[in-house]
Symmetry: C2
């Protein structure tokens, strides 16, 4: 790479990179053929820009929400068809820099994922407040952790508990999709703060992971029995906080179990993402009035100001062996769509990552 | 009355009082024949109790929620059939007292409504935190105002705006059922704080009331056009706060119009009260995640600690002619069920009261 920095036409001479582009909006279940992988010439960075060779990119269930003609108001923008997907957190190595503070060899994160190379402007927040180009401390942790516990996943778990749910001493906490990237962190962070924590997930293997590896107080398989009944068995006296990654019947069960003054951190609604039309909300929202409940929607990216404190805490916990995280790693950029389909189908544990190179 | 305080059997000799009792649970629309009015002997007060002759009693849409075999968890208890209805705010005059601090002739409020006479224990909060027996200052305001702007209605409006919705400078506020007892106060309190306030109601006459008498910035008839379209016309740049008295399509419209960081005070859901089964919630609850919205359910009775400050503020505003309130007065206890049916049908403006005697 180092020998071919400049092409005469603004392209890095002869350098081609692959991009994953959506070519159709899934109506319900996402399939790999909703995407294609194209090779495009890589342009050279302009003033204030760096060229990054991406090494890891992120697969998040929330991407599904953006694979529509128009996304929800105020959410990350919908992905245009036949264009690179902007706003996906990614880690890479700087190969050329025309921005102060960045030099070739730096490991960085940015939000131009699902492609081999990205030209990224420094000092400019990406789409929806997502990660401005940032140098990562690879002495603290392997680069890919910054797409998981030390990045958006950690921040979402942390802000969801502390800011959205306003976690208080003694709260009984239920986390859904608790074997997922965010859920597994949220459940453990609550547990480490001394709470009784119930986790739910969609398979016996995941439930075993929650009980045996994460050490949650109770765990259940939401596919094995009605959610409300399983929740009642796990928390016969009710719950105070529900960290919602699922929506639908899960949220309805939570509203029925929350005690006076209870709080819901609305983080995601993966049960609804693959529905062709808007899913009806919980039938028992009146419980919010009856019990004085608060439901607060949030995105980790709205809490970037807490990233540093989260990273310090979580890195320390991982180092001390007190917090576990698991990764589902997929090899090769071209596997990203299949990986997303698997995440949406609930087939993965922990953070799903694509190793690009 | 004064000559016949004590009956030998614990009853006030010869004194009979009427009570309205539910005799059946309405399946959908409430009708007067779901109730009957019975005459019962009035017992004398025991130690720590007073006997009150009720003069005014309250008709609230939320009563409908309690006319079921089992009410929502954590809400005011369901009314048992063929028994007096406990937990309805009422004003009356003490006719006999065995409680310190209360003397015959005192005007009081308490929560044993929909009956001619009530024996009430002093210093004991009623059902669900509702009004402990309290002497009212009739020099400050007519007694019946304590069932409206100076009582639970005022407190619900006040706490809904300030505590549940956390009203902030510059917020654009939408209040539904804004011609109702709570809504008309909430809309005006927000307007008096300098906010742009949109009100909605269910008839042209009510809309005229909102515009011409309450001076709201915009008002619309939710029966005249789809709520979301009317709201968009009234608030093309969106809203920051929604004070929800209606639920259903109103709440869904609000979620579509709320700007980033917006808040919903979930106060009531009158559109759902007469449905036989639980109404599905909003289909666009994901907007809470996308826009970082907070939905907070509350009941005025959870904020009794703010009653005195609310009363001072609201009494001053009414005295100065800056806040208006309207009453729909029904004559005669036996008319209470019909009055409740009219409230639920949206046929009333302002606070609906029953004058008992």
């Amino acid at each position: 790479m180092s020998g071919k920095r400049r092409g005469g036409s603004g392209e890095v001479r002869g350098l081609m990179g692959r991009e994953v582009q959506p070519v159709a909006h899934p109506r319900d279940e996402l399939r790999p053929d909703h995407f294609h992988v194209v090779a495009v010439p890589v342009r050279e960075p302009g003033p204030g820009e760096v060229l990054v060779r991406n090494t890891w990119t992120s697969v998040d269930p929330g991407l599904r929400v953006r694979l529509r003609a128009t996304g929800p108001d105020g959410y990350f923008a919908a992905f245009p068809l036949r264009a690179a997907m902007d706003g996906i957190m990614t880690v890479g190595v700087v190969v050329a820099s025309r921005a102060d503070g960045f030099a070739p060899g730096d490991t960085v994160w940015h939000a131009a994922g699902w492609r081999d190379y990205a030209v990224v402007r420094a000092n400019e927040p990406a789409l929806g407040g997502l990660g401005t180009l940032t140098r990562l401390d690879t002495a603290l942790a392997p680069a890919e952790w910054y797409l998981g516990p030390l990045g958006g996943m950690g921040l979402t778990a942390y802000a969801g508990l502390l800011a959205a749910a306003e976690l208080r001493g003694g709260d009984v906490v239920w986390v859904s999709a608790a074997a997922g990237a965010v859920g597994s962190l949220a459940a453990q962070l609550a547990k480490l703060r001394g709470h009784r924590v119930i986790g739910s997930a969609g398979s016996a293997a995941k439930v075993a992971y929650l009980r045996d590896e994460l050490g949650l107080d109770a765990a259940f398989d939401h596919r094995a029995a009605p959610v409300a009944a399983s929740l009642r068995a796990a928390a016969p006296d009710g719950i105070d906080v529900y960290f919602d990654n699922v929506g639908g019947a899960h949220l309805e069960a939570a509203l029925g179990a929350l005690r006076r003054g209870g709080r819901v951190a609305l983080c995601g609604a993966v049960s609804e993402y693959e529905r062709a039309s808007g899913a009806p909300g919980p039938r028992n929202l009146f419980q919010a009035i009856a019990q004085g409940l608060t439901l607060r929607g949030f995105r980790g990216s709205a809490h970037m100001d807490r990233m540093a404190e989260m990273q310090r805490e979580v890195a320390g916990l991982i180092r001390d062996g007190r917090l576990r995280h698991r990764e589902s790693i997929v090899e090769g950029l071209e596997q990203a769509p299949q990986a997303l389909a698997r995440v949406l189908a609930g087939a993965t544990i922990g953070k799903t990552l694509v190793r690009i190179a």
